[in-house]
């Protein structure tokens, strides 16, 4: 009946980026954009599958925007790309084996890979300013044979996006207005899948046609 947001997980890897962008909508999300600027935002908590699905979307021909923080102007919804190296945790290594980096890009403690964006093989950033077209909440389910896409209500999407955002309270004049603007402009779906590359292909085909 009523959900309350969890404490915000703020990644230390993005603190420098975030610290200079207060007043922006800072989503804990990955993103990939078409040449015309239409952008798929992949939103979720740490470990939800953002990086893997973002990499898979890039493999379909979209440009890499970020794998961790989507920085949005709350008025225009323009996205400022944050093309940090993709952080791939051990649980995703098998699926992303094709991107395995050289040893200097593997953290000996965590085992995490740091994949340079240029190694993804996607196109350069689009000339058009990226703006959100679709929001995807990844739901990885090893038993899921097919890829399913379930619409999410605007209010639910605003809640889920906001609960994982950074410094929401700094958005003037109303953080909720910024979230409403976003979820009205970009419909949201829970995408359930076991194979991120199949999911990316379907997302691209169904939610970003004519690219």
């Amino acid at each position: 009946m009523v959900d309350r947001a969890r404490d915000l997980p703020i990644s230390s890897a993005t603190l420098n980026f975030i610290e200079n962008r207060h007043g922006h909508l800072l989503l804990h999300a990955g993103a990939a954009a078409a040449a015309d600027g239409r952008t798929i935002v992949v939103h979720g908590a740490s470990g939800a599958g953002k990086t893997t699905l973002t990499a898979a979307l890039v493999s379909t021909g979209l440009a890499y925007i970020t794998d961790e923080t989507v920085c949005l102007d709350p008025n225009t919804l323009n996205i400022e790309p944050f093309r940090k190296p993709l952080t791939v945790k051990p649980g995703s290594h098998q699926l992303l084996q094709r991107y395995r980096p050289s040893s200097e890009h593997i953290d000996p403690k965590s085992g995490n890979w740091q994949i340079p964006p240029s190694d993804l093989g996607g196109p350069d950033l689009p000339k058009a300013v990226p703006t959100p077209t679709v929001i995807v909440f990844p739901d990885v389910d090893a038993d899921q044979q097919d890829v399913t896409m379930t619409p999410v209500s605007r209010a639910r999407a605003a809640f889920l996006l906001g609960e994982q955002s950074s410094a929401l309270w700094r958005i003037e004049p109303r953080p909720l207005a910024a979230l409403e603007h976003l979820v009205t402009a970009a419909p949201a779906f829970v995408v359930t899948y076991s194979d991120a590359f199949r999911a990316a292909a379907m997302i691209r085909r169904e939610l970003l046609p004519d690219v």
């Binding site: 009523v2 309350r4 947001a5 209010a155 605003a158 809640f159 906001g162 953080p175 979230l179 409403e180």
Partner: protein
């Protein structure tokens, strides 16, 4: 008893659901809970809200009363509602 929304909670309604922001946390209310929230104007007591909700959702008033009481208890605990 008459409950009302806390003044320092911002909220927005979208398609019959509500999102609240208390300055630190977000909260999501589904449609039945949102209907209660939007009735919390201080002019309607809890019994009137329950009766209205039971009528609108064609539900058993005694069951609705339990749900409304539970919801208001949670909202009060979180400082979103007073009274």
């Amino acid at each position: 008893m008459s409950s009302h929304r806390s003044a320092d909670v911002d909220w927005i309604e979208m398609d019959g659901e509500v999102v609240l922001f208390d300055g630190e946390h977000l909260h999501h209310l589904d449609q039945p809970a949102a209907a209660v929230w939007m009735s919390l104007d201080g002019d309607h007591d809890d019994e009137a809200i329950t009766a209205d909700l039971a009528r609108r959702f064609d539900a058993d008033p005694s069951a609705v009363a339990v749900d409304v009481a539970d919801l208001l208890r949670v909202l009060r605990l979180r400082g979103l509602v007073s009274g």
